[in-house]
């Protein structure tokens, strides 16, 4: 069974701080996605990484896929209150995505 563990589970920070969320597995994934979910809504795709070692930047968000394609990280620079939400990583398994356990981020003004 493929599992994705995210850490930390919960993060509460002040606006302007930096943070990193980790997504780890013992399994290799052909690609990995990051989603953000806001209260009362479904998750929305932020990025897909497909190559080991790949780094993608989306404004203040930096995503990295591990060299061995077993782990990933999401780094947010100068967090804003609008970054508040549940962050989910998802690895491409056989015919379906395997979702991580989630990291709940709260950014306070």
């Amino acid at each position: 069974t493929q599992l994705l563990e995210q850490s930390p589970q919960f993060l509460s920070i002040q606006e302007g701080e930096n943070l990193t969320v980790y997504c780890n597995s013992s399994s290799v994934f052909s690609s990995l996605q990051w989603y953000r979910q806001e209260p009362g809504e479904g998750p929305v795709l932020l990025v897909t990484v497909v190559t080991g070692g790949e780094v993608k930047k989306l404004k203040r968000l930096t995503f990295q896929f591990g060299d061995a394609r077993k782990d990933s990280s999401l780094h947010i620079t100068a967090a804003q209150t609008g970054d508040t939400g549940l962050y989910l990583c998802a690895g491409q398994g056989f015919q379906k995505l395997v979702f991580g356990t989630g990291t709940r981020l709260l950014v306070s003004p």
Partner: protein, 118 residues
């Protein structure tokens, strides 16, 4: 609308009753997924439909859970004899590309149905 829609948005039921949850995927999307999300947690895969292939039911937690999909359109998730532990948000997602080795797909999610079993 162009997105995935789900109904009802909220459902409160009594223990032991049956419930039906509906998902309307994005038109033309061949793949449809159901997930369960308990409060504050990640997504738990339930079932996956891909075109006319047999569905992948490997995530259904018990035989009280079943789902159907008509062609490449609407899907219903049925929970029989509901239990309190079934309380969760049920999310539906659709995707416009068939899975193939080495490929990846973006899933578009609906807003979910919040189910509360009293």
């Amino acid at each position: 609308g162009a997105g995935v829609s789900q109904s009802p948005s909220n459902k409160v039921t009594e223990k032991g009753k049956d419930v039906e949850l509906r998902c309307d995927p994005i038109s033309g999307h061949t793949a449809l997924y159901w997930y369960r999300q308990r409060l504050g947690q990640g997504l738990e895969f339930l079932i996956y439909f891909q075109g006319n292939s047999a569905p992948d039911k490997s995530g259904l937690p018990s035989d009280r859970f079943s789902a159907e999909r008509t062609g490449e359109s609407v899907s219903t998730l049925t929970i029989q004899r509901t239990q309190q532990e079934d309380s969760a948000v049920y999310l539906c997602a659709s995707s416009n590309r068939a899975w193939s080795s080495g490929s990846y797909n973006e899933q578009f999610f609906g807003p979910g149905t919040r189910l509360t079993v009293l």
